[in-house]
């Protein structure tokens, strides 16, 4: 089983580094193969909104940069983990750029399921999605909006299981690890 971690931490963010270490250790403990990407050091340009990935080079982005490496890793994976500081209730710019560039995972064709409009997935199987956000100060609205965003992304990507986890930067390592384990259970990975 393969997992991909998209790490949106800015350089020298000690809390996210600790959380990423815990996620990787938990997954490796379950005998998962983990590929982690530090987006800070990667060349991922913003999405151009050109739809070339639908109409000119279907399934591939027209921009050639490190986003292609990320996509190639995400497609065959069984779990994608988004790791970010919770930024105004959403993802930070580093992670959001990378998520925006995942448009080639979708086809240009819409469908309506339970009253919600979606884009048909390009691939038959998609990874489960676990979104982990770290909050520097308690803020319930941020928790709610972050959770909604992760669930919406999972729905659009047609992820078979999804979970959002918001951690406090003040949590100790034991509590962080316990919360990560619980979240992995929610995406049907750990028991």
């Amino acid at each position: 089983m393969r997992a991909v971690v998209l790490d949106g931490a800015e350089e020298g963010d000690p809390v996210l580094r600790r959380v990423r270490g815990i996620v990787e250790a938990e997954l490796r403990g379950l005998k998962w193969e983990v590929s982690a990407f530090s987006l800070h050091g990667m060349d991922v340009a913003p999405c151009r909104g050109c739809f070339s990935c639908w109409t000119a080079t279907p399934g591939r982005c027209a921009v050639s940069d490190d986003a292609e490496i990320v996509l190639k890793a995400v497609v065959p994976s069984d779990l994608a983990v988004f790791l970010t500081p919770v930024t105004f209730g959403g993802y930070n710019a580093l992670l959001k750029n990378a998520v925006d560039r995942m448009l080639p995972l979708l086809s240009p064709f819409f469908l309506r399921r339970d009253g919600v409009f979606l884009q048909r997935s390009r691939y038959a199987r998609n990874p489960r999605l676990l979104g982990i956000g770290v909050l520097s100060a308690p803020d319930m609205e941020s928790v709610r909006v972050f959770t909604t965003q992760v669930h919406q992304n999972a729905e659009k990507l047609d992820s078979p299981a999804r979970a959002a986890l918001v951690l406090s930067s003040r949590h100790g390592s034991d509590l962080l690890a316990e919360n990560v384990r619980n979240a992995l259970t929610r995406v049907e990975i750990a028991r």
Partner: protein, 226 residues
């Protein structure tokens, strides 16, 4: 009487002035100008490419009484460069306490037919204003914005009639220092056309574009596997 207040429009679309975000912002700017406000537009994607560009953007925002962020919804949220600008604005406001409080308004448009797809992105904008001491002046959400194809709203009068009415109402309120009225938000959220027609047009458009670029037969390709 002119009130000489400044509204700075941040156009956060990679299509710049030829996108739907710019069409919506352009119409609101024209209506605000009619109400006596000065308006200035900045292209976010160009500014975030360099530190100097970002600095210029932040200085313009410092001078503004009203900031309007116009953006397309990508992956359920703001485009990455728009988030980068909000992060930079928050850092600047934390560092420079003397910046006067200013009002912040957002105009979101999404490619899916339901304007509710913009809700999370607008919630992010609202949290941003609260966390950095700005005043939330409200948000407007448009579904199916692709149909407007970046043309000035006045050239799509029939399709954009509700959007134009919404922006005119919003402009009056914003120029008077009030938030966007509920009526404007609900007018803007009205579908541009029945959703089955929108989906059909979108499918025809993408198929036609794929065929034109020689990729019609590969439109369902799975280049990276299963």
């Amino acid at each position: 009487m002119r009130n000489e207040k400044l509204a700075v429009f941040l156009i956060a679309s990679p299509r710049g002035l030829s996108g739907t975000s710019a069409s919506l912002a352009g119409y609101l700017a024209a209506r605000l100008a009619r109400e006596g406000m000065n308006c200035e537009a900045i292209l976010v994607h160009r500014c975030v490419e360099t530190d100097k560009g970002l600095d210029t953007l932040l200085k313009s925002v410092d001078r503004a009484d009203l900031v309007v962020l116009a953006f397309p919804v990508y992956a359920g949220g703001l485009p990455g460069p728009a988030v980068r600008v909000l992060e930079s604005m928050a850092r600047r406001r934390a560092a420079v306490r003397a910046i006067m409080p200013k009002r912040f308004c957002a105009i979101a448009n999404c490619g899916l037919p339901d304007a509710a797809e913009c809700d999370t992105a607008l919630a992010v904008c609202r949290i941003f204003t609260r966390q950095c001491g700005m005043i939330w002046a409200g948000g407007l959400a448009l579904g199916g914005g692709e149909v407007l194809a970046g043309k000035p709203l006045t050239r799509s009068r029939l399709l954009a009639r509700n959007a134009m009415r919404a922006l005119a109402i919003a402009a009056k309120a914003l120029a008077a220092g009030s938030p966007v009225p509920f009526k404007a938000a609900s007018l803007m959220a009205r579908p541009l056309m029945p959703w089955p027609l929108y989906l059909w047009l979108a499918h025809v458009r993408f198929f036609r574009e794929a065929r034109r670029s020689g990729a019609g037969a590969r439109i369902f390709d799975r280049p990276y596997g299963r």
